[in-house]
């Protein structure tokens, strides 16, 4: 068995940092409302670095076994640019949800997110032995949809009008990728 460093790509790596490092990054990212409106259905709210740190520490204490959380760091400048998480893992079915976000907007559309998701899937299928991975993406986030397609996700349906923004109802698109699709026909070439 050739041992690959699962956490290392060609542009980014996945790292887990202490709560204060994470809190510092998030306190800035939250202030970019465009980012938050692409990421979450919750109304964007602002939290201080201190509050975020306390919340992260509390989450760690509760140590949910269905959650895997990492930050994304660039290789070139060694900058924190985003986060990645598996959650709502059903170990009995090998099914989990994945979330990703690049809080540093200057890194959007350049392949950093796609590579981080590629690493996430490699970890999901080769280490966690999941059977499939699911994600939800907003219909107005075309850049994200393209990125997910690039790493092999396909659309599995739409939750109609799941959220209301700027006076309009928008669909939540669910995408999924199966282990066999990842194994047989992995379209993504890093680099």
């Amino acid at each position: 068995m050739a041992i690959t460093n699962l956490f290392l790509g060609t542009k980014v790596r996945l790292v887990v940092e202490d709560p204060q490092v994470e809190a510092k990054a998030w306190s800035q990212w939250l202030r970019n409302s465009e980012y938050m409106l692409l990421l979450d259905t919750d109304p964007p709210v602002l939290w201080s670095e201190k509050t975020l740190k306390d919340r992260i520490e509390k989450d760690l204490e509760e140590s949910h076994e269905d959650v895997f959380y990492a930050m994304i760091r660039t290789l070139e400048e060694d900058r924190y640019i985003g986060f990645l998480a598996f959650f709502e893992t059903f170990w009995n079915h090998g099914d989990a949800w994945v979330a990703i976000g690049l809080g540093e907007a200057e890194f959007w559309g350049k392949g950093y997110g796609s590579e981080a998701m590629h690493l996430a899937l490699r970890y999901a299928f080769n280490e966690l032995n999941f059977h499939r991975v699911t994600l939800g993406v907003f219909e107005y986030n075309q850049r994200a949809i393209r990125s997910y397609q690039k790493v092999g996700f396909v659309e599995e349906g739409r939750i109609r009008g799941e959220f209301l923004r700027q006076g309009k109802r928008w669909d939540m698109i669910f995408m999924g990728i199966l282990r066999e699709e990842w194994n047989n026909n992995n379209p993504f070439q890093p680099g």
Binding site: T41, P43, H93, D95, G157, I159, R160, G161, G176
Partner: protein, 199 residues
Amino acid sequence: MDLKRSLFEEELICLAPIDPERDAEIEAKWTHDAEYLRLLKADIARPLSPAQVKKAYESIEKKVEEDKNLFYFTIRTRPDERLVGFAKLYAITWSHGTGMLQMGIGDAQDRKQGYGRQALSLLLRYAFDELNLYRLTALVPEYNRDALRFFEKAGFVIEVRRRQALNRDGRRWDLLHLGLLQEEWAQNGSLKIDEQGRQ
């Protein structure tokens, strides 16, 4: 506005609060029927003692009170108030007017008696006319054909098919996400009880 029309009572059944002392015995029995648990959800099927069920009730009531995004009812027959199932609205997101719905009739002998249909009718009215939600989602395992028919009859449509999301008895099954919009529900002639009540 018809104030006389009960939000909680139908002809055969009513929606009622949990009665922890009495219900725990019965619900514990249901959890020993793996078929019931597997028809209901993706969670690992696991039998519970009455004390464990009572604890679960406590955590439900705490969540109802604190999180404000869960509404939980027991389903009881009328007029004898016999516990036959539960109905809940959960994961409600108030800013978008969305929520999820789950129901179960615990004992197989109580299914196909119209209890579920009437409970669903009450639950939908509660969700759309009282909570003013815009839409509801229900999760149904592909192998639960009765549930799929049950929800489709009430106007739900399959919106998402999460391929092979379930692994049971060595086979892969899809997990279906069904959706119903308030406007579809309001126009839906299949819930005739509703129409009569609205004259």
